[in-house]
Symmetry: C2
Subunit: 453 residues, 2 copies
Amino acid sequence: MATKKFLLNENDIPTAWYNIVADMVNKPLPPLNPATKQPLNPTDLEPIFVRELIDQELSQERWIDIPDEVRELYKIWRPTPLVRATGLEKALDTPAHIYFKNEGVSPVGSHKLNSALPQAYYNKKQGIKHLTTETGAGQWGAALSFACSVFGLDLDVFMVKVSYNQKPYRRIMMQTWGAQVVASPSDLTEAGRKILARDSHNSGSLGIAISEAVEKAVLDPGARYSLGSVLNHVILHQTVAGLEAEKQMEMAGEYPDVVIGCFGGGSNFSGITFPFLRHKLSEGKDIRVIAAEPESCPKLSRGKFEYDFGDTVGLTPLLPMYTLGHDFQPADIHAGGLRYHGAGTIVSQLRKDGYIDVDDIPQLESFEAGRLFAKTEGTIPAPESTHAIASVIRIANKAKEEGKPCTILFNLSGHGLIDMSAYDQFLAGKMKNYSLSDKEIAISANALEHLVP
Amino acid sequence: MATKKFLLNENDIPTAWYNIVADMVNKPLPPLNPATKQPLNPTDLEPIFVRELIDQELSQERWIDIPDEVRELYKIWRPTPLVRATGLEKALDTPAHIYFKNEGVSPVGSHKLNSALPQAYYNKKQGIKHLTTETGAGQWGAALSFACSVFGLDLDVFMVKVSYNQKPYRRIMMQTWGAQVVASPSDLTEAGRKILARDSHNSGSLGIAISEAVEKAVLDPGARYSLGSVLNHVILHQTVAGLEAEKQMEMAGEYPDVVIGCFGGGSNFSGITFPFLRHKLSEGKDIRVIAAEPESCPKLSRGKFEYDFGDTVGLTPLLPMYTLGHDFQPADIHAGGLRYHGAGTIVSQLRKDGYIDVDDIPQLESFEAGRLFAKTEGTIPAPESTHAIASVIRIANKAKEEGKPCTILFNLSGHGLIDMSAYDQFLAGKMKNYSLSDKEIAISANALEHLVP
């Protein structure tokens, strides 16, 4: 009988994360101090992040050792399986071989724990007692809640209000692990109060929640802020998934022609693709990587490459990114983790340099793909992950049309068990697409300053 | 660094299920035809089950081959990990070594898929087009929904009404995989209509839902009924978990002193314990097995060993079981899968013969244990599984008191992500215990006929 899963041993968990900056032809542009518009001094970040994470954020070293304590905790669920999606292949009647890395088997249900644990670890090591963070759909907040429970850190989670109300189960998960969760915008911060004063019914966004969490952290010297995507050190931690997948593809005796990840801020996408993209950058290997983003939040395909804030209020450094503008208000799609206006700095530079392709996926196409995956492979995918699956299906169908086999790898970033109300809407025929006119895209981008040289 | 998980390869998935009947000193008493009170003729069961499942139900063979097609599907998630619960051990400061078999990693979130797939397979093989079943909390219904999707079978699930209303996410899961789900009691069956006529607000029970599902199946020659616990063939399929765990304990270089499973009808408990109990039966090996049941549904500790119906209305054969009486109405505890009046025939005989110990767990103790497990090991356990964890903690604390190391193995039957509202109540201090007086226990048992010789 054929092998369905490719499993590694705990010894095969990588001992170092891969930092793609070392192999980039054009290095990312530096973050800027928003007041001076000059490149940021690393110490400027110290009220926000601990020193080891700042070092990682700015590092150009190719490999960064994973601390033993973190690697020990990775063993709770890592290595994750690489699975041949034979059921899906059969349903599509495609000559393509489809593999997925199942990051949904983590105890929190997604890939986010890969970065939550090291972030909590480095904060604990520096004597920090208290973290703050934001969360959209709640995948990141859930991961950091468990990580803080392990290291005995207090955690405040600012959860985007629309998700707080729609996804009570994820709020309860965070509370079960011990976090304090508040709906954002809240009246606990100046940023939140300012927004509520303008619009008392504001349903929140990741950008607003980041403003609140950053503000709360910088006002307390024993606290720091923690982010689940976008930043270089987060993406670095996520490469553990792609590095494992590389070994597992070798066990399968194949090498992917295409590697696909859904795209919000870049953590899941970069984690699976960068270890493969490395060989394109360093050896010219012929491999295609695709970021699957929602058509309602198309920063990579239709955004501008400019300096922009990471949050809505403008508390973060200016980052060079493909962005729809930091006051872009994304539609209420169910893939809450993809509702973010900008792409991380590294991904943005690689996109600009032609290394990354993009698929814009309408919401209905994503859920059709997700349901087919559930019916054939069992796991009900997270709304975010369904975007990657839709992109996979496009490639697999093309392979069928052309009668040309190809090998596809994608990251199943998480399961969708907390998002069943979205599937309920889909099954009831009540879900819709949100496409954007060029005019709508232009409005929020107009506010951007032109600081890219 | 120490090993945390013990992982097998797909080749290590067992090739045969273990049938403990072969090794029992006293074989189970036969099921009786309720009309004649005489032992059942196997053909009496043919309107309800397909022939291969009836053969398994009555088999005394020690090993029954797992069909290749089923074993291939087991590869979707099997072998499951055996995990050393080092985080929990540390929190308890116990000399005990605690291992758990993580059946929650299945795509449906529990061990139930171990039997759903072979049941769907054998039905498909005999040309059946349509299955009916009942489900309480929804773990079984979810598993059979995916299994029917794989084999292209129609499925009607009668879901206990209280769960249908409290756990909409599990209903949606079943619908995502393609099943039709109705709240039971329903007006689709004579059994349901009869109960609704007496009590239009009846919130349902597993016993009632079984009556409805059996009735619907027997009226359609192309349909059969499917059950997720209690019966011998279901328990047989579940031994795949314990057989794997045996190999994995060997990898860990230990042998369990105690094996623990939560107890509803017996599928999870028997699956993990019978492959170990085998060595006690056949070689006199010194091993203790414990069934962790809710104190509010204490059939093994306080029920009677008598012939009783498997359902409320009285459509099934009479089975020899420890039972609280088939009209026992269990309290609305959150562990829906444990709200059943009787124990399977095999377990009942083994309990009678002194091979099985019982722990009765109050609801609050179970959730305290579940939360500690979540905070230390990550996975939020299903309310059913928290009973096993509570029992583990009792043993581990005793080991600490006595300063005597011991090795404990338990089955984590599933995760609790669909049951977060229960954790919400627990965290808010709104959960309560339900203990039963001897008088309450006696009332429903009074209706039992005394047919055990």
